[in-house]
C-alpha cells in the first residue's frame, strides 16, 4: 500500500484489503475524465469472487431483508457513512440516504459494517427455485485411440480418486457417460452396471430412461467407484472408432438439465461423428497468423449448446488429452460461455501426464463450488464499467451468469471515468449470488474504495503491477476471442504500454537519453514483452493452434498469480551451499551457467536443467545414470532439487511431471522455449526496451 502522507489529499476511509476477492489496478484514480483519458493502461479491477478470505462471516439478516440501497440496490458495506444518530446510512454508489431496518443497531460487531468482504444468507426471494443438490456428470472417451494412449484409464482413475470429494456434498448425484461413435449411458443402481447404448439418430442422442441414470452418490458410492475402475478393462478389448464428442456433450447437458451442475468431459480426438463434428482446420491451412478471427469457433454447435446450458445452470469442464489437432479453439467456446474450464495436455501419455490430470480434476472437484451463480458489479457515480473479461454469459447489461464458480474463477472488469469526482473516494462493489452444494443460497459481497486524486502522478505511484498485467492479459485474450487479428491485438497491447510510459515521462523532468520508469511499474515493459510472447499472441510459427487456444483460455480464466506464472515462468538456480537453496533466475539462456542446475516451469511440466560442466560428483549424486531423465531419491543434492520442484508445484496448486534436461540434448528445445528474455519468439528484452525507449521519447 502506498504511503498516504505523500499523496497530497486527506481520505475519509481507511482502505481494508479484500484480498484476491477484489483487487484494483491502481489504488487511486484521477478526479477529472480529461486527465483520466491520458492514462492509457487499462484501468479496472480483477475479481476472484470465491477467493479465500480469512474472517469471512455469513450474515443472516433474518426477517429483515439484507440492507440495500432503495434506489441503486447496492449492499451496505464497511465504508458506508452512518448519519443522523445511527438511524440512516448513505449509499456509496448513488449517494442516497437510506434508513436502517427497525431494531437494527449499527455497530462494529456486525460483519457487514466491519469487513470489506462478507457473505449474506440469501432469503428465498433471491432464488427462483430452492437450491438443488449438486449433480456431476462424467463423460469419458472410450474410442480405441483413447484406450491406446491411456486417456480412458487415466481419466477413470482420476474420476475415481476425486469421487470422495463429491461425497461430502449432501444429495450429490453422479452420472457417467462414455462415447465412441455413439453415446453410452451407464446405470449402476442394479447389481451389475448396465449399459444403454444409444446410436445417434440424425447425429443427436436421446435420453433413454428418465430415472436411474443420475445416481445418488451416497447410496451407490461403491457401485460407482467399481464401475469407474472397471470401465478401462471393459473397453480394452473392444475396438471402437472415435468421434461423437458433440453428441455426448449434448446428452450430458440434457441429462442434468433439471437441476444444472457440472459436466467433466474427457476427450482424446477431434469429434468427427454426429452433431458438433469438426474438420481439421489446421491441415486445411485455413488458419494463418495473419488472418482475422482465427480463435473464433468454427460452426455454431458449441456456442449454441453453451447458451442452452447456461439456461439450465450447467457448466462444462473440458479436458482435452490430445495427440493430434483437436480444434481446441472451437471446443473452448463451450467452457467459456458456461463458466467452465478447459485443460489441455498435448501429447498425452498416461505414465507422464496422468498425475497432472488427477491433480487438476481433484483440485477442481474439491474446491469450494458455487452453483447457479450470477455476478453483478456496481461502481459509484461517475465510474462506468466498460467491459467484463472472463468465462461467463452476459445475462443482462451488468449481470453475468457464471453457472458454476470455483475458487479460481476470475473476472476482469475494465472501467472508465465519465464525470468529475468530487468525493475523496470512488467505490466498486461486486456481488456473487450462488447456491452452495449444501443447498443454501448465499451472496458474497466485496467492496473496494479507490482514492480520488487531482494528479495523475499519484496513479503511477499507487499502481499494482500484477493486477494491471492480469487485466491487460484478459483484455487481449478477449479481443482475440472476439475475432480480432493477432497483429492488431499485439499493437494495442504495445501501444497502451508506450502511451502509459510516455505519460509518466512527460510528468518528470528527464534528460533525453535516459529511460525513466514508474517505481511500481518498473517491470511493465518486461511483462508486456512476456504477454506479446505468449502462445496466442506470437507471430512466429513456434507453436500449434491448439496450444494457442489453450493458453488463450487460460489467460481469460486464471487468477492473478497464475497469469503471472503463465506470462513469466519462474526459474530457480539451485545452490548447494548453506545459503538459500535456490535463487530466482532471469529467463535468459546465456545467463545460465553450464556448471549449474536450474529448475524452470511452464504450464505442463517442470524442467530440471543440468549444465554440461556440472561437477562429476554432483552429477553422480543427482542422477542414477549420465543421461537419465529422473532424479535419484536418496542423496541430499537430489533432495534439494526436489524440494525446489515441490515449491514450484505448490504455488501452482497442482502436480506437474518433471523432467531432467541435459544441456546440449535435442530435448533441450522445450526448455529453451521458456527463456523469453532472449530472442525467442520475438525480440529480446534488451532490444525491446531500446525500441520502447525510442517510441516513448517520440510519443512525448
Amino acid at each position: 500500500m502506498a504511503d498516504m502522507s505523500t499523496l497530497g489529499y486527506t481520505s475519509r476511509v481507511e482502505i481494508k484489503s479484500c484480498g484476491d476477492a477484489l483487487r484494483s489496478t491502481c489504488e487511486s484514480i484521477v478526479s477529472s475524465p480529461a486527465v483520466f483519458d491520458r492514462w492509457s493502461i487499462p484501468f479496472g479491477v480483477v475479481c476472484q469472487p470465491l477467493a479465500e478470505y480469512e474472517n469471512l462471516s455469513v450474515v443472516d439478516f433474518g426477517p429483515t431483508k439484507p440492507i440495500r440501497c432503495l434506489e441503486c440496490r447496492s449492499y451496505i458495506s464497511c465504508y458506508n457513512q452512518v448519519v443522523s444518530q445511527n438511524r440512516q446510512w448513505r449509499c456509496l454508489m448513488c449517494g442516497r440516504v437510506n434508513g436502517f431496518p427497525d431494531g437494527y443497531q449499527p455497530s462494529e460487531a456486525h460483519p457487514e459494517l466491519s469487513e470489506p468482504v462478507y457473505e449474506i444468507e440469501a432469503p428465498s426471494e433471491y432464488t427462483s427455485r430452492p437450491p438443488p443438490p449438486a449433480a456431476f456428470c462424467f463423460v469419458f472417451d472410450c474410442s480405441d485411440h483413447a484406450v491406446a494412449t491411456g486417456v480412458l484409464s487415466s481419466s477413470c482413475k482420476a474420476a475415481a480418486h476425486s469421487l470422495k470429494h463429491l461425497r461430502r456434498h449432501p444429495g450429490a448425484r453422479v452420472s457417467i457417460l462414455t462415447f465412441d461413435e455413439s453415446v453410452t449411458f451407464w446405470q449402476v443402481t442394479g447389481g451389475t452396471p448396465q449399459e444403454v447404448v444409444i446410436p445417434l439418430v440424425a447425429g443427436e442422442p436421446f435420453i433413454p430412461t428418465p430415472n436411474g441414470l443420475v445416481i445418488d452418490l451416497k447410496d451407490h458410492y461403491e457401485k460407482v467407484e467399481r464401475l469407474l475402475h472397471a470401465l478401462p478393462d471393459r473397453y480394452s478389448q473392444r475396438s471402437a472408432p472415435p468421434g461423437a464428442l458433440g453428441a455426448a456433450l449434448l446428452a450430458s447437458c440434457k441429462l442434468i438439465a433439471s437441476t444444472g451442475g457440472k459436466v467433466s468431459a474427457f476427450a482424446a480426438t477431434l469429434p468427427t461423428i454426429g452433431q458438433g463434428r469438426l474438420t481439421d482446420r489446421a491441415r486445411a491451412n485455413k488458419l494463418d497468423v495473419e488472418s482475422k478471427g482465427v480463435f473464433t469457433p468454427a460452426g455454431e454447435f458449441y456456442r449454441a449448446l453453451a447458451i442452452e446450458a447456461t439456461q439450465t445452470h450447467t457448466s462444462v469442464d473440458l479436458y482435452c488429452m490430445a495427440s493430434a489437432y483437436m480444434d481446441v479453439a472451437t471446443l473452448s467456446a463451450l467452457p467459456r460461455l458456461t463458466g467452465g474450464d478447459l485443460s489441455y495436455y498435448p501429447g498425452f501419455r498416461d505414465a507422464r501426464d496422468g498425475v497432472k490430470l488427477s491433480a487438476d480434476l481433484e483440485a477442481k472437484l474439491s474446491s469450494e463450488l458455487g452453483l447457479e451463480a450470477v455476478f453483478r458489479a456496481r461502481a459509484s457515480n461517475g465510474l462506468e464499467i466498460s467491459r467484463y473479461y472472463g468465462n461467463f454469459f452476459i445475462r443482462q447489461a451488468n449481470l453475468l451468469s457464471l453457472c458454476n464458480v470455483d475458487t479460481s474463477s476470475t473476472i476482469g472488469i475494465e472501467m472508465k471515468l465519465l464525470t468529475t469526482q468530487d468525493r475523496p473516494e470512488a467505490f466498486i462493489q461486486t456481488a456473487l449470488l450462488y447456491s452452495t452444494p449444501g443447498m443454501k443460497r448465499r451472496c458474497r459481497v466485496a467492496t473496494l474504495p479507490v482514492m480520488t486524486t487531482p494528479k495523475i502522478g499519484d496513479m503511477f505511484a499507487t499502481a499494482s503491477l500484477e493486477t494491471t498485467v492480469a487485466l491487460m492479459a484478459k483484455k487481449a485474450a478477449m479481443a482475440l476471442t472476439d475475432g480480432g487479428k493477432i497483429e492488431d491485438v499485439r499493437r494495442t497491447v504495445h501501444q497502451s504500454t508506450v502511451a502509459g510510459l510516455a505519460e509518466f515521462r512527460s510528468l518528470e523532468n528527464v534528460a533525453p537519453g535516459s529511460m525513466v520508469l514508474p517505481e511500481k511499474l518498473r517491470l511493465l515493459p518486461l511483462l508486456t514483452l512476456a504477454l506479446l510472447k505468449t502462445h496466442p499472441l506470437r507471430m512466429t510459427e513456434t507453436t500449434t493452434w491448439d496450444h494457442r487456444a489453450y493458453v488463450l483460455s487460460r489467460l481469460l480464466r486464471d487468477n492473478r498469480d497464475a497469469i503471472r506464472f503463465t506470462l513469466y515462468p519462474r526459474c530457480y538456480a539451485v545452490s548447494w551451499g548453506d545459503e538459500k537453496p535456490f535463487a530466482i533466475q532471469r529467463l535468459l539462456y546465456t545467463n545460465l551457467s553450464p556448471t549449474g542446475v536450474y529448475v524452470a516451469e511452464d504450464l505442463h511440466a517442470v524442467y530440471v536443467w543440468v549444465g554440461r560442466d556440472v561437477a562429476p560428483e554432483v552429477r553422480l549424486s543427482l542422477l542414477p545414470s549420465t543421461q537419465a531423465l529422473t532424479l535419484r531419491s536418496d542423496t541430499p543434492h537430489a533432495a534439494r532439487v526436489l524440494e525446489t520442484v515441490r515449491l514450484v508445484m505448490l504455488r501452482r496448486h497442482t502436480t506437474l511431471p518433471y523432467f531432467v534436461v541435459h544441456q546440449g540434448d535435442p530435448t533441450e528445445r522445450q526448455f529453451m522455449d521458456l527463456m523469453i528474455d532472449g530472442a525467442v519468439h520475438g525480440q529480446a528484452y534488451q532490444g525491446y526496451l531500446n525500441g520502447l525507449h525510442n517510441e516513448v521519447t517520440r510519443h512525448v
Binding site: R303, A306, I307, Q311, L337, R387, I394, R395, Q396, A397
Partner: protein, 168 residues
Amino acid sequence: MLEAFAHFPLNGIINPNVTILQILMYCVTWVCAVFLLFFFFQLGVLLFLSDLEQDFINPITFCQKLNRWMFPEVYVTFAASVLLMLCFDWLGFLVLMVPLIVIQVQRIRNNAVKFDSSNIFIHFGASKKSTIIRMVMYLLLFFFILYRIMSSLLVRIIPHDIMDQLRS
C-alpha cells in the same frame, strides 16, 4: 395503368416494351409498401431492444424471436435496389439506395446481421444506432418512391395544356 408511369425517365430514353414496364412499375409499388413495413419493423426492433435493456426479455428469447427476420430484410433490400436500378432513377438510386446497400454489405461482412445472444450487451449501443439509421433510410426511401409514383400519376391526370401552364 401503365400510362401512369410515363413520367419515369425510362420513357424518354428507350422505347419501352409495355409489358415489362408494367410489371416493373407494379413491383416498384410493392417495394414502396415493403419499405414502409421495414420502417415499422425497425421500430419494433428498437422496442425489443429497450425491453432487453429493462430486463423484460432475456437475450436468448430476444435472439430467437428476431433472428428469423434479419436476413430476409437484407435480401429484400438487394432485390429492391436491382429494381430501382432498372428504372434508371438516378436520384433515388445513387443518393438513397447506394448508402443502404453499402450498410447491408458491411453488416454481412462483419457478421452483424443476426443478433448474437452472447455478444448483444457488448455491442448494444452500436446495434441501436444501426437500427435507427436503417429506420431513417427506409422512411426516406418510402417517401421518395411515393413521391415518384404520385408525380407520375399527376402527369397523366392533369391535361397537357394545364400542365404546361403550371410549369411556365
